[in-house]
């Protein structure tokens, strides 16, 4: 099957139906390995056992940003090429990205209380991630409340592209401003500063979370394609009824 064939919704559905069982199994397996490694990882010399929250917080933060990046690419597909699958991809990614950003905010808050002494502080990193979450809610509102799905999709695509400005702000906020949040410790010049005994489970958990995101996204895209078929069939049914009377 050529890559271009996947752009056809029917072929895409067939591919998703074949992939989903494998992706689900791989996700479950990686979570089993990752959680086992995370539970047996040594305590941090400063933070103690609370470092275990990092195995949830960091992957959730990455995927919150990844979700918006995906929506921005999909927005280009919606606005420039007007491909229906691009809109399907954007719409399916929004609630999943919002959920991961929510996990990032809550776990960060629960990690902050014992390590910083506060659940929340209005610094650049935390505030920009909160803005990302609010942007997700904005996109969801556009998708769910627009009377005309096409207009809602275009408005959501524009907001997705505009909101992409927030991604580098989140990434570099810890370098551009003085924040309570620690600086980059994995993707940095000179390599990660985390000990391998903690880095290894973090990477396994990050891959597990990413597979979970991909699995949920493909399943949500499948649902959205089916929803559009239902809508098209109901419209045809209504049209046939109108012609008959």
């Amino acid at each position: 099957m050529a890559v271009i064939d996947i752009a056809n919704p029917t072929r895409f559905l067939a591919l998703v139906n074949r992939l989903l069982p494998w992706l689900t199994a791989a996700t479950l397996l990686l979570f089993a390995v990752g959680l086992s490694q995370a539970m047996h990882a040594p305590d941090d010399y400063q933070q103690g056992a609370t470092v275990k929250i990092m195995f949830l917080h960091v992957p959730a933060a990455w995927l919150g940003m990844f979700g918006w990046g995906l929506m921005s690419i999909a927005a280009l597909g919606t606005l420039v090429w007007r491909h229906p699958l691009a809109d399907v991809a954007g719409k399916a990614a929004a609630p999943i990205g919002a959920a991961f950003t929510f996990i990032c905010l809550i776990t960060g808050s629960l990690w902050g209380r014992p390590t910083w002494g506060t659940y929340w502080v209005w610094d650049a990193r935390l505030t920009s991630v909160l803005v990302l979450f609010l942007l997700y809610l904005g996109v969801l509102a556009l998708y769910w409340t627009a009377e005309d799905p096409g207009r809602g999709a275009r408005a959501a695509a524009v907001l997705s592209l505009v909101g992409a400005v927030n991604l580098p702000i989140i990434k570099f906020s810890v370098e551009w401003w003085n924040t309570l949040h620690q600086g980059s410790s994995i993707f940095r010049m000179g390599g990660p500063t985390i000990d391998p005994s903690i880095l290894r489970p973090l990477i396994v958990m990050a891959v597990a979370f990413t597979l979970l995101f991909v699995t949920l996204h493909l399943a949500a895209m499948r649902n959205e394609i089916l929803r559009r078929r239902v809508r098209a069939m109901r419209l045809m049914q209504a049209q046939a009824l109108a012609e008959a009377t």
Partner: protein, 59 residues
């Protein structure tokens, strides 16, 4: 496994994450079965997509 003096925070973080992921999975699974059921009902009533109709029926 000893989670130390901040065990409540660690357990709460894992519980919230598990709950949100469970909600996401439930949403995807229930939505899929709902869409399949509605599509089945429509097809039973004879409503078919344009691409499924014979060429002579398409206007």
């Amino acid at each position: 496994m000893n989670l130390g003096p901040h065990a409540d925070f660690i357990i709460a973080a894992y519980a919230v994450t598990a709950f949100v992921i469970a909600m996401l999975v439930a949403w995807v699974v229930l939505d899929y079965s709902a869409q399949r059921r509605i599509l089945g009902d429509l097809e039973e009533r004879g409503v078919t997509r344009r691409s499924r109709r014979p060429a002579r029926d398409q206007r």
